[in-house]
Symmetry: D2
Subunit: 320 residues, 4 copies
């Protein structure tokens, strides 16, 4: 292995820069050259590629987003698109590929590997923490802390008013962010796509909390479970309580990465280089029970990852 | 003046605690006792009142919200309500009143003063910065920094995608938060109630920015100017650009107060006590051109406060 | 088990409040009453104790420090002191004890259990992450993020100058904070008590970095490894480089707890109550490989916990 | 005026990037070209200069430090150095110069103007707020908030222990940061170079506070007034109290600029361009009583700026 490529794909996640830095420096440490591929598979097809050195990744560890930029590419889903990417693999002399992204990005990497035999190692970078084969994905801890920071601010002001606050957070298919932030933020109710809920139950809990002297309630809604605005409207109608809605949107994604995300990203990126160096391919690196491990992509792609029921139950008990 | 009361009323604002602390400690320094009145005029009517000492305001300077809590009171708008409050004035031996709040709270204070002759000094505490007679209100700087922090996070992630971000911020009648945060955050467009706008112009600017290589655009919308969701929908329809919407809601209000808000609040609170001690009444303390000044309530209540047009023009020039 | 006591002891750690909240609410959920013991073993001896209810732990999840306060108690190290504490156990009808703290606090708990047979469950709360039997202690993640935040700020400004920055962080006997923050913060050198170092090697690395165009260097020093001021002085003498020193001190301890610390604290606190309920004693709850586990105190107290050598090597490779 | 140069000089200050952005965009708006000069007067002498366009200042508004870098230049203090700079003025066709920095940088600008007649407009960018002719300098508000954030963290943890905390902050010749942060942070004592102090008085205040039940005390020391370590040692000796010292150092300088600093910087930068366009020279732009004004450099350079005594007195009264 003398030269590898690295790209970030799909939605960006805070900590990706730490991962890129680790890939570049670990590779150079082992005498391997690195080609940065910009804007995910789009740049791979269009040859937006450049050699990276130690300085290319200086002073990026604390930046949100990704210096390689990211994009979703429809063309890479076609044979023609991948053929163009393969031309760039040859043109730039790339012998292995590190793909940082989510499930869709891994699918592309896997097909590309099958078609052209080029070794690929995937790294889970997505705020949703919805990838099988790893306990945590890069960007999840930062996203959760962003939501918790929003809850902090709302909580400070909320103690002054008898009010209900609904906060809509990211998570189309997964309630992981809502659950983790709800537990850490002390939310009264957490609505996630994995678990059916009933607005009347929530209202009942709200009202009995009020009776006991609770000054306010915070309800976290994963976007995949319901619309925050809709839930707010229903609560208002059913209880008559003044209900305020916040939709956090993309502010969850960005911001300075937490120490946890940076360290996880560094470990995963370094491991990806090691695997390529050792002749491995078609694997995703992940963290399981605190250990950095590699899992075959076939056991990762399209596999469901269930939420932590113990956490959900704990959140319920602690928010009484 | 041997004993004064202090209350916070209307929407809470970060920095109110620093103001309460200043009122209490300045008063005690001058040998004046302080009665804390909880939940604004509601607690005034219902005698939720207690003597405050130096320790009552220890370790509150860095807390958002208000330790005295706040509420909106319909009863204080009635003669009966105010009569009950006057009974509590007599019962607790209060000889002067500090009211921290916004325009509505000042109106109540002014009527109460007219009816019963009790000296009142008002302090502008509202995140909207929409009070005449002062350049800044308590809570405005914190709210603006909260919005700017949200823009920071969105900006970090935004550079990775060609996208338009719409952020809806507070301001029903006033575009001050949107304008200040938009200028400081480098927003491409700022929609405020004071200045007519046209979605087609915004789209035109978006598209010409894109052509010049701008990777993303951030549009700030004061809730009084338009609905963020609606603007997002229109932009998407008119341009075809992927447009994401964030509604910040109450997270703007809270959080740890900035140094600016704490200092302003401390100076205003201390001045309010001085005015009461000097026999003044029916005045609002404020900051004008860096100086702490007192303005007659008649020149404050119901008076419009125009936005800073120079700022608006500067924001436009700098976001080209 | 009808009534338990809970106390925090030793140095405070961010997240302790989340743990107290979990102990109280989990206990009440199981019909167990909770007595809060203030100021650690001091308050235990002096009967600074009060019944806690659901409301006692409302709105504390996001506060640094501990609402129960903490102290180091010399008297509890004596038979007489512990006898007085035992009187309070009987007086308040306490049947089990949750002790949140570090190694010294656990020793006290263990002796108390041996002498009087009262069940004790310990929870590791200390920023140093130096307790055997758990991968993480409460407060460590927040402390690391506090240090990383300081590095962020210094890094932003540092790129403007050719300068060396020395940051002294906590850790008398353990380099865990320095190592984790150094890896996450991208420090050029990390000096910890566990690994011998040589200032000349550091200077050599500094100078060769400078030659390669590195604009600045950040050196993290655990207080147990050396004095930051001393290291700064030596580097200046050996290299002639302008070297600036920051001593973070107690700002590492406090601040709003991270989501990680709150969740860990909640899980550990809840588990402690479960163990007491199940008749267990003389155990510490901890997290090992992602699982909440209980370890006998004899395997915890006084046991060394080695640093993660893999992390240290990774940090070295990535900072070339 | 067809082409101007811009540089940042001296210590960097958060918000400088917002100022550079304003200079560049305001100039381009008026059809004026901009040459960026790197590393202050050093780059001016060594022709580290490049043309800037709208994109050169994209996505920098929220970054600490300065994208133009900064340095202190001994050569520019010599006739020879300035002659070389003048050669670059001619070579790059520069007709006016914007210098962002402090007193030393202004002196250089003034001499350069006298010698070669090239118009110069200065902008006050220094965290110390020690420049005459302006109420605030760029970077001061961010530095104060950085210190206040440190106090927040220490305060949270401090309430758990009976302890004294000494925090050494920047300010060799000026106590402005210590004073502003001490007032906003609620410090018990503030030691600044402008006002004589006595450690025995401080100890007396500490001990009487303790007697009244104060759980902790925070003492802010400007580096120009005393050494934090020395003050900590003396307090410990005189009172026997456990005293902890934090030296904030360069973390005060950096970090994401506050809204206040960005807005101030933008307004000052835009005004500087206007003045050059209008044929002005040898002036500093500043903010006085909320208005952007221009002051002759002769009234700025070397002029003392006294601290705000009212603030100092208020801080004393509020910390009783």
């Amino acid at each position: 292995m003398q030269r590898i490529g690295v790209l970030t794909s799909g939605g960006d996640a805070s900590g990706m820069n730490s991962c890129i830095r680790a890939v570049v420096r670990k590779a150079i440490y082992h005498g391997i050259e690195v080609i940065g591929i910009k804007r995910g598979y789009s740049g791979f097809i269009e040859a937006e590629m450049y050699p990276m050195n130690l300085g290319s990744v200086a002073d990026i560890i604390h930046r949100g987003g990704t210096i390689l930029h990211t994009a979703r590419s429809e063309r890479f889903k076609t044979k023609e698109g991948r053929a163009l990417a393969m031309e760039n693999v040859q043109r730039f002399g790339i012998q292995g590929l590190v793909v940082i992204g989510g499930d869709g990005s891994f699918t592309g990497a896997s097909i590309f590997h099958q078609e052209y035999g080029i070794p690929v190692i995937c790294v889970p970078g997505t705020i949703d923490n919805d990838i099988a084969g790893t306990d945590y994905t890069i960007g999840f801890d930062t996203a959760v802390n962003n939501v918790v920071d929003a809850i902090n601010k709302i909580r400070d002001t909320a103690t002054s008013h008898e009010r209900t606050f609904v906060i809509e957070v990211m998570g189309r298919g997964s309630g992981n962010i809502a659950l983790a932030a709800g537990l850490a933020g002390g939310a009264e109710s957490i609505l996630i796509p994995e678990i059916p809920f009933n607005v009347q139950d929530i209202c009942h809990k709200l009202l009995s909390g009020l009776k006991r002297g609770k000054l306010h309630s915070i309800i976290l809604v994963a976007e995949g479970a319901a619309s925050g605005l809709e839930i707010g409207k229903q609560i208002k109608e059913l209880t008559g309580l003044d209900t305020k809605v916040t939709i956090l949107g993309h502010l969850q994604r960005g911001g300075i990465p937490t120490a946890f995300d940076r360290t996880l990203a560094a470990r995963l990126g370094a491991k990806a280089v090691e695997l390529l160096k050792d002749g491995e391919t078609n694997k995703m690196v992940g963290i399981k029970s605190g250990e950095i491990v590699a899992t075959d992509l076939t056991e990762v792609i399209g596999q469901p990852k269930s939420i932590d029921k113990e956490m959900y139950e704990l959140a319920k008990i602690l928010s009484i």
